[in-house]
């Protein structure tokens, strides 16, 4: 366990060192958040029927999405891991006394966390200074905030587990790009990053609630803005835990299979 923590720390500090990249990233994300907000504003202004989520709540969700993008995007590209898989340099890793799944998991987790930590605060602070209804506000009550933190953390664990599945699939496709692009897009759509889930057609919503994707972003952020009741939130936390366990088991089993295949084939 200790070695994973050390690894986490190393990657974390490394991630903190990219100053200009971070600044550029912050500006870019701020822009994108703002753009989506403007588009939604135009839509909302064109209709007088009340929506499942108010405009101001949606605005806050957009800000949260941008601020925590590193924690919720499905596909987080790690060139080193990709290289190791596609070029079969796994031998080096397998010779070390570590479990590959946990090793990569910790690494991916650290990268995302350091990236998010660099960026979320500036985005949210600036967003909070905007005039109503564009401004970022605090959650309606303290309990919502606590639920938000819990579901966000659990959500990150889910999304990393999901991305691990994509990495494991690369043992079979041996390509770093094409298939990943497709998975990434589908996953992000189902998580509500292309169109917010409350605004989706009802039929689609029913399918989405069965999948794990929305538990990474839709859930925590809607809790934050107060669009999900506390009761529903608590039940959702249980569902999150179930998903984490399922994805972990599937991931480990699949990876073992893939590694065995690699060893048999001789890499």
């Amino acid at each position: 366990m200790r070695s994973y923590l050390v690894l986490f720390q190393m990657r974390f500090i490394r991630g903190l060192q990219y100053r200009t990249a971070a600044l550029a990233g912050v500006l870019t994300q701020f822009f994108w958040g703002f753009m989506y907000i403007l588009i939604f504003e135009a839509f909302y202004a064109s209709s007088s029927t009340p929506q499942p989520i108010t405009f101001h709540q949606l605005v806050n969700m957009m800000w949260l999405q941008q601020a925590f993008l590193a924690l919720i995007m499905l596909w987080f590209r790690d060139s080193e891991i990709i290289n190791q898989i596609t070029k079969g340099d796994i031998a080096v890793e397998l010779l070390r006394p570590i479990k590959l799944y946990e090793f990569w998991y910790a690494r991916l987790l650290a990268q995302r966390t350091s990236s998010a930590l660099l960026r979320f605060l500036p985005i949210l602070i600036v967003a909070s200074l905007l005039p109503y209804p564009y401004n970022f506000v605090l959650p309606p009550d303290a309990f919502s905030f606590i639920l938000f933190i819990i579901t966000l953390v659990l959500g990150v664990l889910i999304v990393v587990a999901l991305s691990m599945l994509i990495y494991i699939s690369m043992f079979y496709t041996l390509s770093g790009t094409g298939s990943i692009l497709i998975f990434g897009v589908i996953g992000e759509f189902l998580a509500g990053l292309i169109i917010p889930i409350p605004l989706m057609p009802e039929a689609l919503k029913r399918i989405i609630y069965f999948l794990p994707f929305r538990y990474t972003t839709d859930l925590p952020f809607r809790i934050y803005v107060g669009n999900i009741t506390h009761n529903e939130a608590i039940i959702s936390i249980l569902i999150q835990i179930v998903w984490i366990i399922i994805l972990y088991i599937i991931g480990k089993l699949w990876m073992n299979k893939a590694l065995k295949r690699l060893v048999i084939q001789g890499g």
Binding site: I13, L16, Q17, R19
Partner: protein, 322 residues
């Protein structure tokens, strides 16, 4: 045809210190050091010369090459190369030069070599008959026949370097800049490349400027050496002059049968009945040395080895504190 006069160039390099505190400071403010890459560099090179441009890493070799190939503007100084100022008349000037970078290729990686050559023909607007002639000549001299239809990525380093040489000469440049052309090559390929350079220099009077760390390149190809260190030209002379000045030290190996008295002069090595030591023909003539040695041993055989260029260069570096 190459006249370089008083070229100076300084760079600003951002300082990067280690540690977390420094990294945080770096976030807020950047510090710079000023590096004088070239300091009043001057030399003249005539057409048809092969010049070895040597010096330790960071001495200013690549900076000089960049200036005289027109891709870097110096702070001061003038440059007149075949009538052009490289950085001012870039597009016209580069038509007459060829560059080979040892590490990087100018060929397109995934397609057959001949396709790259074709594209270069279009880039340099080489007339078809000239192109055909050159292609034939280069294919023959560099033995490219089997390589032309192979994608570059499938070639060995030696094969690739031969193709690079060909590519650099398709457009009949008057000057050829070679940056570490034999680096990483096996002995056979090195020999082939060196032969080729000698041939085109003799047949087409191509002026060659060669930067290298490989002293055999110097020995086999070069008739003139320019040494640059810390941005300054430290030495500019023919290879013979350099050898004369610094190469007067040699190694002598004496095979003997009987020893008369213990050796009381510095020796390098005794192996069985072979004695090896350094001599300086500037200080003592050979007959004098042989006389002296006869006092110590019964000489059966004598072998004298010139100090290899490598050692001469090391001595040079030491002398100039590089």
């Amino acid at each position: 045809m190459i006249q370089v006069e008083g070229i100076t160039k300084t760079f600003q390099v951002a300082k990067r210190n280690k540690g977390v505190i420094e990294a945080l400071k770096h976030l807020v403010r950047r510090e710079y050091t000023i590096v004088k890459a070239l300091d009043n560099v001057s030399f003249n090179i005539k057409q048809g010369e092969i010049v070895g441009y040597i010096g330790p890493n960071g001495a200013g070799k690549s900076t000089t090459i960049k200036v005289i190939s027109g891709i870097l503007v110096p702070d001061n100084g003038t440059c007149n190369i075949i009538g052009y100022t490289p950085w001012k008349d870039r597009k016209e000037y580069v038509k007459h030069i060829g560059v080979v970078f040892g590490q990087r290729t100018q060929l397109w990686w995934d397609v057959p070599v001949i396709d790259s050559y074709q594209l270069l023909k279009d880039i340099y607007k080489i007339p078809t008959n000239v192109y055909q002639n050159n292609l034939e000549l280069l294919t023959e001299t560099l033995e490219l026949k089997e390589l032309l239809n192979t994608p570059v990525r499938q070639l060995s380093l030696g094969q690739r370097m031969r193709c690079e040489m060909g590519a650099a000469l398709l457009h009949d440049p008057k000057i050829l800049f070679l940056d570490e052309p034999t680096i990483g090559l096996d002995a056979v390929s090195k020999k082939a490349v060196r032969n080729f350079i000698k041939t085109i220099n003799q047949e087409k009077q191509v002026t060659v400027i060669l930067t290298t760390h490989d002293m055999r390149d110097i020995e086999e190809l070069v008739n003139r050496i320019i040494l640059i260190g810390k941005g300054k030209i430290l030495l500019d002379g023919t290879l013979d002059e350099v050898k004369l000045k610094f190469g007067s030290e040699k190694t002598m190996v004496i095979t003997y049968s009987t020893q008369f008295k213990p050796f009381d002069f510095p020796i390098e090595n005794i192996n069985g009945n072979q004695l090896r030591f350094m001599i300086n023909t500037n200080k003592q003539s050979l007959p004098q040395i042989i006389d002296k040695v006869s006092e110590y041993v019964q000489i059966e055989d004598i072998d004298i080895n010139h100090l290899p260029i490598e050692d001469i260069i090391v001595k040079l570096y030491k002398e100039y504190q590089l």
